[in-house]
Symmetry: C2
Subunit: 540 residues, 2 copies
Amino acid sequence: MLGLMQDWPLLISKIIDYGACQHGSREVVTRSLEGPVHRTDYAAIRARALRVAQRLQRDGIAPGDRVATLAWNTWRHLEAWYGITGAGAIYHTVNPRLFPEQIAWIINHAQDRMVLADASFVALLEALADKLGCVERYVVLTDGAHMPATRLRNAVSFEDWIGEVDGDFRWLDLDERSAAGLCYTSGTTGHPKGVLYSHRSNVLHSMAMAAPDALGLASRSAILPVVPMFHANSWSIAFSAPMTGAKLVLPGARLDGAAIFELIETEGVTCAAGVPTVWAMLLRYLDEARARPSSLQRLIVGGAAAPRSMIEQFERLGIEVFHAWGMTEMSPVGSIGSLKPALGALEGDARIDVKCKQGFAPFSVEMKITGEQGERLPWDGKSYGRLKVAGAAVARAYFRDATPILDDEGYFDTGDVATIDANGYVQITDRSKDMIKSGGEWISSIELENLAVGHPDVAEAAVIGIAHPKWGERPLLVVVPKPDCRPRPEAILAFMSGKIAHWWLPDAVSIVSELPHTATGKLNKVKLRELFREQRLPAA
Amino acid sequence: MLGLMQDWPLLISKIIDYGACQHGSREVVTRSLEGPVHRTDYAAIRARALRVAQRLQRDGIAPGDRVATLAWNTWRHLEAWYGITGAGAIYHTVNPRLFPEQIAWIINHAQDRMVLADASFVALLEALADKLGCVERYVVLTDGAHMPATRLRNAVSFEDWIGEVDGDFRWLDLDERSAAGLCYTSGTTGHPKGVLYSHRSNVLHSMAMAAPDALGLASRSAILPVVPMFHANSWSIAFSAPMTGAKLVLPGARLDGAAIFELIETEGVTCAAGVPTVWAMLLRYLDEARARPSSLQRLIVGGAAAPRSMIEQFERLGIEVFHAWGMTEMSPVGSIGSLKPALGALEGDARIDVKCKQGFAPFSVEMKITGEQGERLPWDGKSYGRLKVAGAAVARAYFRDATPILDDEGYFDTGDVATIDANGYVQITDRSKDMIKSGGEWISSIELENLAVGHPDVAEAAVIGIAHPKWGERPLLVVVPKPDCRPRPEAILAFMSGKIAHWWLPDAVSIVSELPHTATGKLNKVKLRELFREQRLPAA
């Protein structure tokens, strides 16, 4: 027997309708790419998104078509998302930091019919345009006055483009399971894979993220997503902000410490979200400028593990750090960490110990860790295994790819290795492929790296396994020193010694001037292993 | 094109699975009907709910069957809900305060196959048992030691009943739109009508309620639903607490000021929810005992309008009042009021003015107010019209009743008359049938009542329309004085004069010793109109 409640589909249009209706005058503030700070509100965002949808339809874009965006976090990018999804089409966020060949590959794989791009990416697109036969039109996210001269096909400025319609449009009635967004994962090997979000998954993920133990978004909040919209839905914020009436502060292209600090102060930001690299820049700026943020209460750190020292520094400033973990396939948040009451009384180092873990799963995310045979391992904080997830906003397949990716119980294998403690806190130990197997036992490269960067002279560290005749593999530590520092390998090993099991201590340390990174800023260990392919360990 | 995300149905079993997995040791504390305070946790609630489901299945209860509960808020009632829904059956909460004939009518209309009842309601059920042919078994929510001798069919104590199974059970895989709960509205006229909640509507309503601007539930919260589980899902709390890991404090049958205060203090309650009557009792107790709650931060007041003086008193104690409005047909919350940032700077009377309104719609609720022709009226805080709602947890029909209840746009007519201001705050002016039409203009009976109870000698007030040869109708004020007070009618009218439009002033005041109420404690104006049928107004 079915219930007798209304059929109210979980559509993205419901979010912006709600934001405009209940929080219509709540501000959306952008540091524009043209320079000045731009101010609008949810009512205006909706009104202009209706024009986008209407214009897309006039240009022949049909439900299910892909429309790429290649853009920083701005109000126009936001309008594009709501307009595209409101017309039943799919926003395909392309990461402009990818290598040009990857961008071309992705746009072709997605078969994007249109590309909406910031003016600063026009040159990049012009260089690729010959390879992008599927793209019928390029819309530059600017106005007529700032429109660059370009030979891109049917190029038009966003303002001129939507200026030709009146906004008299009704959002499409869609099945809530309809595809809404597409984002490719940037693996270090193989071709990128597309994750195809639905309206339903985005709405549910955003509802879960608004909860007090996650982003904690209220109408009185002001949230700054430094995390780009092209990183897996900006961790829900482009949706959860209008859903809750939180003020939205968008950084445009300037992510440096001074720019971020200024936005926080002038806009009264209460919550900010981004990767550790960004927060390291902010900390450096705060230190140099002898400044401290006055309104910031909650800092969400994700995308990579936050170093302990970073967590300590922000907490000393009175800003609570919420360490999060997730991936593109999870929409993306899989865990986020406020302190559960059993832990709430912890102070000092014990508190930071918990904050260094990646938090716990919010409602709608299910987790397990499994051993070599796929068996479930206990949540004891010690057993580590493959981290597998299920939930309302977890992928079940990749776009245009028939490969099955779920196990017998319907879980997706994240490729991460983790422990989960008795309180449910996840600690990512490593990517499974980066674990080092020494004498049949696992060594976590990430733990060694985190420890090494605690040395005062070390700026960045990477650990990879090197073949060893006796142990199979042994760890090699590769280190980039801080400017004007010349740490000795023995000093670094001495610093690490005693803080880990003795047999985890790297067999060698190599000092280099830089480490290879992927387009999204992650350590590229595949490349690193290539560079050190000939390396022999001293004792081997 | 559909998205490629997992099919993760919004089932009630997902809530208790999550609560047990992530917040398994979080307490559920009950003032038991047997006397002592009882403590359990979400892991144990789930384990015992699995036994309930298994036992129901062994007793032949099939998906879609209705199982009634006639019970106060206790851990066993909670286990019953999760067990019933986990077996695919439907919990039908019966309000024990209804008149016995209504209880029998409702159980028969629902065709309940089983009744789970507190021991204190056994006598009530025995008196009705002959009329309840559909009921195959009665389970008394107690243990063997407290089991009363009874001739109820197949009667068994809850503990003995679930003691016969081992809990080795898997929640049923269900369509998320499956019926999960049934609650009858207790109108003042006609037969009660059944609202049939789905798994999906309950999950979505609870997710919306957990948000910071509504209940604001985090794992560190401790919530006390004084509102009974038989009042429309206890305003979501039986679901939103395990969904967020909030500690759940259940008052059993003792709702008096001393008992509630004691629970708040001993259990560190941060949020409590109930009707104004309960909070009036608490205020009286606090006054007499010269006490003040130390942990309570947020008070949810709904079910009837909270008097201004009540809001003022709690806010003076540093407890933020969230005035809510809703109805059984809305699962039930339709609006709830934190202060939006545009209003956040308000202090003193201006702040209380906003708090006296019933808040704004959370995400997933849509509203409109309409005029005589069904046309939409502006949100200006002045225009009042029929309040109509749509949303993910709003009824589209009643159980076993073919009458259409939605308008052309899919909105449900609440029967309330309201204004909505430019900030989205709802103010319920009256039930549409209680408005008084004088000379073609509307007078709100509720506004007059709220004003009259502000008089120091007035305990309770009701206003009804009396036929008038010139004006059509004119208001009659009926007043119950406070103990040992003898207010004169002229003094009350003088008190009200100047605070409302002159023509709103009642034409007469009648002093009575008590007013008629419905079984749920609401003013019974139908009865009141009958009592004053022969009344003539002085000037008429």
